[in-house]
């Protein structure tokens, strides 16, 4: 490998807005992914506050029923399509080329394109709030006939167009990741020496590539039905509304894994570093990830058990089975910490938070796999609790862990540890206060997506608790933003490797130069930087 001496202090990060707008550097694009996603996280969170405020008490106090439906629809659309999926793609963008010792992604300009489609798609979707009739309001699933032209306005068309662009962004990104991972690995980085984060991005990209075009087809059929007199989903003319659900969930269930696998990857990077041990069962972990990806395509109809139109035992069995590889991962993570030497820096706190909460999201999902129990809890607040334990307790905790873990690499400065721990504690408490009572609300029979409920239904107390919890979560973001602001200016200088990392991104400067590496350490295992630090024999 040729050794080019690059100036680590190259002014790439200080050269103004123009360089950001025109960059094809995977690191800058990754950071833009993160910033853009956080903006939509705040927007989606504000809409969640509207929902929680309105539900705090029986009766309609703050918004109309019509706006309420727009609020929860756009909350979910922002959080899923413009926060969780892209922020994980953003981490992938930043760290995958570094982790495999590559100078950039395989197609840097396509990489820039897939980023810029995101804010465009997001704004298109959000512009629904400006048109008459308001934004899309049929839930993030947009089931026809409710999302059809007869019942929904222009906001739905904007939602479809926005999501199609976002989907295109995902597909381009997935192709880019796959080519990068298969073609750009540095000598010595064999497939079974890749960090788990890279493996999860690899499997996620395969899922994106197989599933997203199917979603796009559903969206285009819906658009044709709405605007050009199509009858794909119109039963009066031989169409079938359940067809939409099949096609939609064929994407949207794998999408759950698109939203959780890279998060698991982040956790699998953090735990070994802060336990000072290798990941327990590295190959078992890869096998479990591939298993989840494969099984993920055979469970979509568990979202449709109550339609009466799917073969229940098959989807029940597959849904139960997918718990097995997930359980294997959980045990491997615990075994990684077992007999380790744990340093409780903020990234590890978030990782442990992930383990404790994602466990609940796994167990309460098994209830829905038991079909008759699903008949009782489907479309109630139980399901709302379940997805938030998976996607907030799981993905969001991992995302914050990832931010605290890689912020020093991205900016050269450490985030403040005290503020980080304060944020973690407030968020952890607020999260449980908000979402745990939703299990009980669902069991007590409260359906999701209702704007109002009767005072005599017995749901008032738990709804009030959930609303208070929602504001605690919102409060937990204040120390985070304050932390980012002060640390960017005055944070402790990080150095190349502040955590004692294992993977190649810690073998270069913080932030890395535009072409990433002056030279690479010898790569003989999945922990080349660990090997370089302790010697190859120390790890065995």
């Amino acid at each position: 490998m040729a050794t080019t001496t690059l100036n680590p202090a190259a002014p790439a990060y200080r050269s103004g807005l123009y360089s950001w707008l025109t960059t094809t550097d995977h690191k800058k694009i990754g950071i833009m992914y993160l910033v853009n996603s956080i903006v939509f996280f705040v927007a989606g969170g504000s809409l969640a506050m509207v929902v929680r405020l309105e539900l705090a008490q029986p009766g309609m106090q703050f918004v109309s029923e019509a706006f309420y439906n727009q609020a929860f629809t756009m909350h979910a659309s922002f959080m899923l399509f413009l926060f969780v999926i892209p922020i994980l793609a953003g981490f992938g963008n930043y760290v995958v080329p570094l982790m495999i010792g590559a100078p950039d992604m395989a197609f840097p300009r396509i990489n820039a394109l897939s980023f810029w489609l995101l804010p465009l798609g997001g704004l298109l979707m959000a512009s629904g709030f400006l048109v008459s009739g308001g934004a899309a309001a049929s839930g993030w699933t947009e089931y026809p006939p409710l999302s059809g032209a007869q019942f929904s306005g222009t906001g739905t068309d904007l939602w479809i167009m926005g999501l199609t662009l976002i989907g295109t962004s995902s597909i381009l990104g997935a192709i880019n990741f796959l080519v990068t991972i298969f073609k750009m690995r540095a000598p010595g980085v064999t497939l079974f020496r890749m960090p788990i984060m890279v493996w999860t991005v690899l499997v996620t990209s395969v899922l994106v590539l197989m599933a997203t075009p199917v979603l796009t087809s559903a969206l285009i059929m819906l658009f044709i039905d709405r605007n050009y007199g199509g009858h794909f989903f119109d039963p009066a003319n031989g169409g079938n509304p359940v067809l939409y659900q099949n096609v939609f969930w064929f994407y949207s269930h794998p999408a759950v894994y698109i939203m959780i696998l890279p998060a698991m990857g982040i956790i699998s990077e953090i735990l070994p570093v802060f336990s000072r041990k290798p990941l327990f069962g590295y190959k078992a972990f890869i096998f479990a990830t591939v298993c989840i990806g494969a099984l993920g395509f055979s469970v979509w109809a568990h979202h449709m058990f109550t339609t009466g139109a799917v073969f229940l035992p098959f989807f029940s069995l597959m849904t139960f089975l997918i718990a097995v590889p997930t359980g294997v991962k959980m045990f491997n993570w615990i075994a990684t910490m077992w007999r380790g030497k744990l340093s409780f820096d903020t990234p590890l706190l978030y990782a442990v938070g992930f383990l404790t909460m994602f466990l609940i999201g796994g167990i309460n999902g098994a209830f829905s796999a038991a079909v008759p129990v699903d008949f009782a809890i489907h479309d109630t607040y139980w399901v709302v609790a379940h997805i938030h334990y998976v996607l907030f307790g799981g993905s969001v905790f991992a995302i914050f862990g990832g931010i605290y873990y890689w912020f020093p690499k991205m900016t050269g400065r450490m985030l403040n540890e005290t503020l980080g721990k304060v944020q973690f504690v407030i968020m952890f408490v607020g999260f449980n206060l908000t979402f745990f009572p939703m299990h009980q609300l669902g069991l007590a029979g409260m359906p999701r997506r209702i704007a109002d409920y009767s005072a005599s239904a017995g749901w008032s107390e738990l709804n009030l608790v959930a609303t208070i919890g929602g504001f605690v979560i919102a409060a937990s973001l204040l120390p985070f933003f304050w932390n980012v602001l002060i640390s960017l200016r005055n944070g402790k200088i990080a150095g190349d490797d502040p955590w004692g990392g294992n993977t190649l991104e810690w073998a270069t400067t913080s932030p890395p130069p535009a072409y990433n590496f002056d030279h690479l350490p010898e790569i003989r295992s999945e922990r080349p930087v660990f090997d370089a630090r302790y010697g190859r024999t120390a790890g065995h």
Binding site: A137, N240, W338, A370, D379, V429
Partner: protein, 371 residues
């Protein structure tokens, strides 16, 4: 392999322990202050507060729920204890720079923690499949109801053996409305939707099923306890999805038969002619998009008057009911299904403020000032 030395230094666990104690103390005292007993808290982890389900299918589902719940809770406790123990036990001592043993894995434990969860989920699958067959079993029943869902309303058609409607109940709630069923008799319900997707959901039945346009979903059950059960649409159907409620009245078999005969006779009787030439002034009122076009109405005191009511919602039933400030019904107009119009003859009312509302859609309201 020797155990690493225990670490007792640092304030981390102390702070963490303190936070846990404070949170638990706050939660317990808030619960106690709100009058929530441990028993009620425990029951909230079971469907409908631990109450016995109202149907035979519901009882089967509840047994399955209990098994899933106890297995799930056990796994939850075991794994959380493992996590918390590991986290507290294997903290790094400040200044300890040595490496722990670099364990890369162990194929035997991988096999164990793959095999045991597989066995558990297969066990749960077989159990839930059995329960599913019970819940899905179609019964031969004399009582066959077609529940017709349309935006924000339910209609219940009672069918004869040939599937023809013998009586249609347009009012989804209240003592004169709702889905009335016999106790102890197998009942078959067929769901139909006239517009978007809805779902028939009765929490106490532990059951729901979608009403999909273009598709008839049929299911059977036997109600085991007489009573009134709250039901509600569970699939988002538009702005007033949350007010798309209904009630199930379960009556002893003899009472049910009497009730049904009365209703059928009433339906077959010639409808009484509308009172013609109603006296007094006329008030105009229109219902459109499941809302009244006017929030306030005025009428003279102590004089009979008429309301000319236009229901502009195709296929949706509306009426006008006038209630006094105490909530007592002073007048209840006949429900008409749009698009249609009618004239209500309202008796003389004393001066005061009344509310008017649609009996089918309780969120459609306004104020009537009589002076």
């Amino acid at each position: 392999m020797s155990m690493p030395p225990r670490s007792r230094t640092g304030s981390g666990p102390l702070v963490a322990g303190l936070i846990i104690v404070i949170v638990v103390a706050v939660v317990v005292s808030v619960l106690a202050a709100a009058g929530i007993t441990p028993e009620r808290a425990w029951n909230s982890f079971f469907p409908v507060g631990g109450a016995t389900p109202a149907t035979d299918r519901g009882v089967a589902t509840r047994s399955l729920y209990n098994i899933v719940f106890f297995i799930g809770a056990t796994i939850f406790v075991i794994v959380e204890v493992m996590i918390v123990f590991t986290v507290f036990r294997y903290r790094r001592k400040p200044g300890d720079e040595t490496l722990p043993a670099q364990t890369h894995g162990n194929n035997l434990v991988e096999v164990i923690w793959t095999a045991i969860p597989t066995a558990i989920v297969l066990f749960l699958f077989v159990l839930s499949w059995q329960t599913l067959n019970t819940v899905e079993a179609k019964a031969v029943s004399d009582v066959h109801v077609r529940a017709v869902a349309a935006r924000f309303q339910w209609r219940f058609d009672y069918l004869d053996a040939n599937g023809a409607t013998i009586f249609s109940q347009a009012l989804p709630v209240g003592p004169d409305g709702g889905l009335t069923l016999p106790v102890g008799e197998p009942v078959t319900v067929t769901l139909k939707s006239e517009d978007v997707i809805h779902a028939f959901y009765v929490p106490k039945f532990l059951f729901k099923r979608d009403a999909v346009p273009g598709r008839d979903n049929t299911f059977s059950f036997t109600v085991e306890e007489p009573g009134t059960y709250r039901g509600q649409c569970a699939e988002l159907c538009g702005a007033y999805h949350g007010s798309m409620v209904f009630e199930v009245h379960a009556l002893p078999k003899a009472d049910f038969e009497t009730w049904l005969k009365t209703q059928v006779d009433k339906a077959n009787a010639t409808p009484a002619p509308l009172p013609s030439g109603a006296a007094g002034p006329t008030v105009e009122l229109t219902a459109k998009n499941v809302a009244y076009t006017a929030n306030t109405l005025e009428a003279p005191a102590n004089t009979a008057f008429t309301i000319h009511f236009v229901n502009a919602d195709a296929g949706v039933p509306h009426n006008v009911e006038i209630k006094d400030s105490a909530g007592k019904s002073a007048f209840k107009g006949e429900i008409i299904t749009g698009q249609a119009e009618t004239t209500y003859a309202v008796p003389a009312l004393a001066a005061g403020t009344y509310t008017f509302a649609c009996t089918v859609h309780p969120n459609m309201t306004g104020t009537l000032t009589v002076q």
